[in-house]
Amino acid sequence: MAESHPPIGTGPLAKREARLAWGLLFPTIAAVALVVLLPLLAIFWISFKPVGLADLRAPEVVLREDIRGDDEAVGDAATIRYRLRNSSQDQPITGVTFSDVIPMGLAVQDLDPRCTLENRDLTCDLGDWEPGNREILTIPVIVEQPYLDNALRPQDSPATTTGVAPNVLTNTTFTLDNFSRIFSGEEFVEVLWVTLFYTVFGTIGALLVGLFAALLLNKAFRGQGILRGLYLFPYVAPVIAVAFAWLILFDPFSGSANALLIQMGVTPTAINFFGERPLALIMVTVFEIWRYFPLSFLFILARMQSIDTDMYEAADMDGASPFQQFWYLSVPQLLGILSVLFLLRFIWTFNKFDDIFLLTGGNAGTRTLTVSVYEQAFAISNIGAGAAVAVVIFGCLLAFSIFFLKYISREEGL
């Protein structure tokens, strides 16, 4: 008698389901690959390239065309002049050619040996150019009647140029200069230290402040909804608006905060909150806490409201005091969400760029790794070095992520 087996392997239905799943996911995967993975690969590539901001515009042939001499009567002798140059001072261009149309009624008298003329179409092959090369081509012509009848002048027909320039981004010159440049110098150590300070204190501060706010609102009373909405304001408002509001509030010359502190006798002279060395870093960290406590507040509050109240009633019966209830009942229940929030916020704070960029621009000892990317790439115009810093950031994140995935798989949620 034949034994019956359950079916083995994937059946046609399961296959169809998997195909549909990949079909539905394909647009997302494609978009993410194009805008996230491709740029990430590009960052690695660029970080080994000696490329500056100016190199983004490839060297090209710049051509100006004019007509000199008289061209007002039949029989006048004139010259069409082409002035050409290599726009780049340090990159050669190979295979430079240009072509143009000579207007009707100009009889070409003499032709440069590198040029050919077919009917009215002029083509010149100028060969390979050194960096910064300049050339002037002149073509003597005699004016005839059709030229005078016709409104077309030599400048009116734009000349087209071709030429192949090596692109720094696509050729095979590699260098380790970018990395040696960012790792050498004391600045890098300071940047790391600032990043660490900002990330650790910003994360812990936002968590603690958020926890405090959640404890306040974890009871039903009139106006609770309004306060909850109000406490989310800093997170919802555009960062640029609140950053400038802070700058104006703490302005050393006409800021209200300084006026208030002086009036209250806390300080005799105005404090330059975002311009002095240790203070600026503390202020941007405080801003970070202020802006992101709502997020942790929201998550912690949601978790608190899902804790069973029976437990607190039982603890009350047993005589546990409010602080004991918080410490022995609430905190263990909240540990899960707190650790998840800590990891998430830690990474996001590490990644934060806009806030510091808007508040101090990375000056006064507030340059974090992310601000350093912008600084290298755009302020110093060294894209390669910027990319190298980005690679360092990415390396740190990879380390965090491995830790995160390992840890989070044991944690609740997520």
Partner: protein, 402 residues
């Protein structure tokens, strides 16, 4: 030792008086511009006496009224917890002292509700401390949240000269009428803010639709369909969200410069959704998982295809989640600054955030900068307050179990 009524009462009374006198001074300074300042030692001294009085005499109406009268009198005679400078107007002085007296008297009796003059048990003591901390928390959070926004709005209504003269004076002269809104008018007439507002709105709405078009099928596949790599996929979605924008912005800037997409509307519209798709997908799949799959299976049994099931059953059921996700994505796109700042140079294509950044120069007065900030903040705030329920749900969706 500290759990004795005659110790707890004065200590909490003193600290509470300090909190309130600082609060009232700051509030009075910010609303009138007159010099009010708290005195730390006098606050502690009078607060301790008042706290002791409440514990010793009980929380009767007479004690409350007595405290109001005494505190008001002390402030007006210049030896109270809050001091006023000579420049302060008499109306403001009386008003400030009465406010401080009333606020302190009625709140301190609530804080010291169970505190009696004998020894206290843990419950009574900690209850009083918690009520003190709660009161402090409400004042603290409301102040730190409101002050920057208050400064933003009030600065936008004043002019540079007035601000330099007394940075604390945020009182506005209502007799100026519509002249108060001059910087707003100038932003719209001379600085093109109407266009920026439209650009921001258009880009944000487009971003929401594109994001949903990508995220809904993806989220459904991750939540419902079985395929190899499903678990790994749903986890790696969040990892993408961990890549910092500045790292991506650099190659995107290079690619856009070379292809001519920089400075174009479509370049921005191509990039924004990709930054929001992962988080939208993550939020939606959490919601889809929570929907009962029996309804969908019934639909499949009745001969609907998978896509028809998504369209006719899943989407109508998840309208609240779609609202939350849309709102969240709209907020991200509306507030986005970095990419707009790097990729847009042409003033006719600016978004609001980019437009505000262009106002940050020494030649443009600060009230314009603040008026621009208000213009960018008000729509998103209005949207948020109107749909707060969806918003808070959206923010926590999918990330918190239970």
């Amino acid at each position: 030792m500290i759990r004795q009524g005659y110790v707890t009462g004065p200590i909490l009374g003193a600290l509470w008086m300090l909190v309130l006198s600082v609060t009232v001074s700051v509030a009075m300074s910010f609303s009138t511009g007159d010099p009010f300042r708290p005195s730390v030692w006098l606050s502690l001294f009078w607060g301790a006496i008042a706290g002791g009085a409440v514990v010793a005499l009980g929380r009767t109406r007479a004690v409350q009224i007595g405290i109001v009268v005494i505190v008001t009198g002390l402030v007006l005679s210049g030896i109270g917890p809050m001091l006023t400078g000579d420049a302060a107007g008499s109306v403001a002085r009386v008003l400030g002292s009465v406010i401080l007296g009333c606020a302190f008297s009625f709140s301190v009796t609530v804080i010291l509700d169970e505190v009696v003059s004998g020894p206290l048990n843990r419950h009574e003591f900690e209850g009083a401390v918690i009520r003190f901390l709660t009161g402090f928390g409400y004042i603290f959070f409301t102040a730190i949240v409101l002050i920057p926004f208050y400064v933003m709005v009030m600065t936008s209504l004043k002019n540079q000269g007035e601000l330099m003269q007394n940075p604390l004076d945020f009182s506005i002269d209502l007799s100026k009428g519509t002249d108060l809104l001059r910087s707003y008018e100038e932003l719209f007439t001379q600085f093109n803010f109407g266009t920026y507002l439209f650009n921001s709105f258009f880009i944000s709405v487009l971003t929401v639709f594109i994001t949903l078009a990508f995220a809904i099928p993806g989220a459904y596949a991750v939540a419902r369909l079985r395929f190899r790599g499903q678990a790994a996929f749903s986890r790696s979605i969040l990892l993408i969200y961990m890549v910092p924008m500045i790292v991506l912005a650099l190659p995107i800037y290079i690619a856009f410069s070379m292809t001519g997409l920089r400075n174009s509307f479509w370049g921005i519209v191509m990039i924004y959704p990709v930054t929001t798709i992962p988080v939208a997908l993550y939020m939606l799949q959490g919601y889809f998982r929570g929907l009962p799959s029996e309804v969908e299976e019934a639909g499949l049994m009745d001969g609907l295809s998978r896509l028809a099931v998504i369209w006719k059953i899943t989407l109508p059921l998840s309208l609240p989640a779609l609202a939350s996700v849309s709102l969240y994505v709209f907020m991200i796109a509306w507030n986005e600054f970095l990419l707009a700042f790097m990729l847009l140079d042409d003033p006719s294509k600016f978004t609001l955030t980019r437009g505000i950044a262009s106002l940050n120069s020494s030649e443009i007065p600060r009230q314009h900068l603040m008026a621009g900030s208000v213009i960018a903040t008000v729509p998103i705030m209005a949207l948020f307050l109107g749909l707060e329920r969806f918003m808070t749900k959206g923010l926590t969706a999918g990330s918190v179990k239970g």
